[in-house]
Symmetry: C2
């Protein structure tokens, strides 16, 4: 055995020891050394079976010497195999777990191994808080997706959209006596809410439906819009109007991409691209140098830059996206979201009581095809006069939890249902809606017979 060798993993960690007992590595050329124990530990945890309705994590609670299964909503038991009775179908949050299976299938390509001494310094070697390699790969990502212009633009990193929005408002409000008012057309997702005078802006909807204004305002434009999935443009005009575009959902998963966006301040977030909401990573693409520098300043004052661990992981994930020109993840994501939307649309087409928003098919510059809608949220309307609180109707009659219209400065006749959660979540939501529509049909049959 020319290249053979035996390395016994020595470890002081009992948990690992238990799992990797008698693990012998015989490696030719470059035997794994310091990383082998951590790799074996990660694989041991990943191999814990949770019946396809959950997963165990390295940092999960420990029971009987190993991390417990963390089950999807409505599943329980030590291995997540029990469907819990009468469990609410929670379609409230936009937790993008529909992408988890993609990363499970691509574990090998998407794993990062971080040694203890990785990037301990506050700064990268160019004295910035921003990984140049990650920035480069983000530019490539937009180039292949054709969803944003990055040539000659600046890029700032942040902990998700909310922080970047705060940073943008800070930067756009510089040289003003007070922060500009942030306004948005309704319905809109209230990224921030009123707080003490210490921090955070309040978001208002337009007043008087005026499109011209002389007041200092920042128009916030989310496109596709949260909650309704429509592509939007800024509508306010005037010399003192500034805009922030939130493109969290401007990916082939959720919408056709008509053209690369090219706005003053454009915010993207990894949460909705790769599904890694827990990593808190986003970026802004900025035209103006002063605004860029003031956003960097905000970030520096807020938290001295984004975690280097998170930036390393973002780099790895985005490299995986890029490896096949985005085909792997974009096909998976579009297929999943389109499938969910189609099922939902079909069952609700049988209802007179509930109406889904309309999103027409459109030509997608990324896929070079005309594509049907695949939004992140259903923006459901209760059509019957008496169903003035649609959230309540769904909750009481179908044990479904959506998010009320008022959260988006809209009528409570509307309710938002999240379609981006796990397959278990979506399936339960779908089954409950189907039952509800079935009951409606039965009632109609009963009445008409």
């Amino acid at each position: 055995m020319h290249h053979s060798c035996v390395v016994r993993i020595a470890t002081a960690n009992k948990f690992v020891a238990k799992f990797v007992a008698n693990l012998n590595l015989c490696i030719s050329r470059r035997p794994l050394s310091w990383s082998a124990g951590a790799a074996a530990e990660a694989e041991a945890v990943a191999s814990i079976s949770c019946s396809g309705h959950g997963r165990a994590f390295l940092d999960g609670l420990i029971e009987n010497g190993k991390p417990v299964c963390e089950c999807n909503a409505c599943y329980g038991g030590p291995d997540c195999s029990q469907l819990l009775p009468n469990c609410v179908a929670d379609a409230d949050s936009g937790d993008p777990l529909f992408l988890e299976p993609f990363w499970m299938k691509n574990s090998g390509r998407s794993t990062v191994v971080i040694p203890g001494w990785h990037r301990m310094s506050y700064d990268y070697s160019d004295n910035s808080y921003i990984s140049q390699e990650l920035e480069k790969n983000i530019r490539k990502l937009h180039a292949i997706t054709k969803n944003a212009v990055t040539d000659g633009r600046y890029i700032v990193f942040g902990a998700g959209s909310t922080q970047l929005l705060n940073a943008a408002v800070y930067a756009l409000s510089m040289n003003m006596s007070s922060p500009a008012k942030v306004v948005a057309e309704k319905p809109f997702y209230p990224n921030s809410s009123k707080q003490s005078s210490l921090s955070f802006m309040e978001m208002h909807h337009y007043w008087n439906n005026a499109s011209k204004t002389t007041e200092n305002v920042i128009e916030f434009v989310a496109s596709p819009n949260n909650p309704d999935g429509n592509l939007k443009k800024a509508v306010l005009e005037g010399p003192s109007v500034k805009t922030i575009h939130d493109y969290a959902y401007y990916w082939p998963h959720y919408t056709a991409i008509p053209a690369p966006a090219d706005e003053e301040v454009m915010i993207f977030t990894m949460s909705k691209l790769t599904g890694h909401a827990g990593s808190r990573f986003g970026w802004a693409i900025v035209k103006d140098k002063d605004i860029y520098e003031n956003m960097l300043k905000y970030k520096s004052l807020a938290d001295s830059g984004t975690s280097k661990d998170t930036q390393l992981r973002a780099l790895k994930l985005i490299k995986v996206v890029l490896e096949d020109g985005g085909r792997g993840i974009f096909n998976f994501a579009y297929k999943t979201m389109r499938g969910r939307w189609t099922k939902l649309k079909h069952v609700l087409s049988l209802s007179k009581r509930f109406k889904l928003q309309e999103i027409p098919p459109a030509f997608c510059n990324y896929s070079r095809t005309v594509r049907g809608a695949s939004p992140a949220f259903a923006w459901l309307k209760c059509a019957k006069e008496e169903d003035s609180n649609c959230h309540k109707v769904l909750h009481q009659e179908a044990n479904i939890l959506g998010r009320e219209g008022r959260s988006f400065d809209a009528e409570d006749r509307y309710v938002r249902l999240s379609l981006v959660k796990s397959a278990d979540d979506f399936n339960l939501l779908f089954d409950r809606l189907k039952e509800l529509v079935y009951k409606e049909e039965q009632n109609q049959t009963t009445r008409s017979s």
Copy 2:
């Protein structure tokens, strides 16, 4: 060959392929599968030689197909072997790289392997933004270090001290018409600076040296103090005085630990404990439930919680600290800092021109011994009347970059010199100071002869 097997790493990543060409894993029982490629990649990068004056990182800039060496200050060349001439001895920042060798020596125990699907959700399974396992381990850490009471206390996570300070000011200012004034005894480290009205508080020094006040104030107490390393207590009294204690340096590395701290709001940061400034992770220990909840609310509004990747890494690093009751890291860190201080003290004792601060030996409750000083910073005073700007003196006469007294609301006769950077940084600083003192002695000899 009973347990033998051959697994050829298939990878689409050319960089890995280059490094792990012909890597054959023959593993008995549990062969590494999806983690092997990333582990091999990490080890390949770690094995790049940078002459002991730098290191290559996984996310470094790529040249000739592999990440470049990132050299310590004053070293250059492709493998960091060239000492750059006339390079400034930069002792400005508190970048805690003196701990890097500890983690390099303990790579095996401190590595984390993060699969692509790790913790994609916004929340942990208890719907919080806080890892329970990490919280548990932080409580253990304080118990073994005996530096803070955590029983019956709440713990909030944040992106380093600055964010937690902002969160604490936000929480302590609730139910007030305006944020309380934040004050500190000078010299103090200005954690935050005046900004637009959007965010961030300004820190003031006491006015009138009054210790009693009826105004709403928050006293900020850093202990050991930055810049001078003294242990401090709050001095303001009054019904409307609140306190925030910054215990960033309250670890056996930098000070004797007289007793466990037990204050209203206590802030700690990983930067100064393990040296991982780049990870941006800290925590606050809080007595009052309302203050705790409002700090959580701030965090939720600011960035929806701390990155799960960072929390996983913090967990791993703190577990390594705990494995041997802290002996490994605390001995290493104290020995290093004490050694630097002793050398510095010795050479400056020969000078009439420069005076170091005095920190008396004290009994340390952690080590159960009386220990000599080992502060993170030298707080140097230029004793000669004409040397009114000590920063300038060091810069012009010795090519040393410190931080001016005015940055700490003190006289410019003082300058802060960082002692926590890499060995290369400290050695250069020390050599320059030695030369300066040598010149002073020569001048005296010349004059007196």
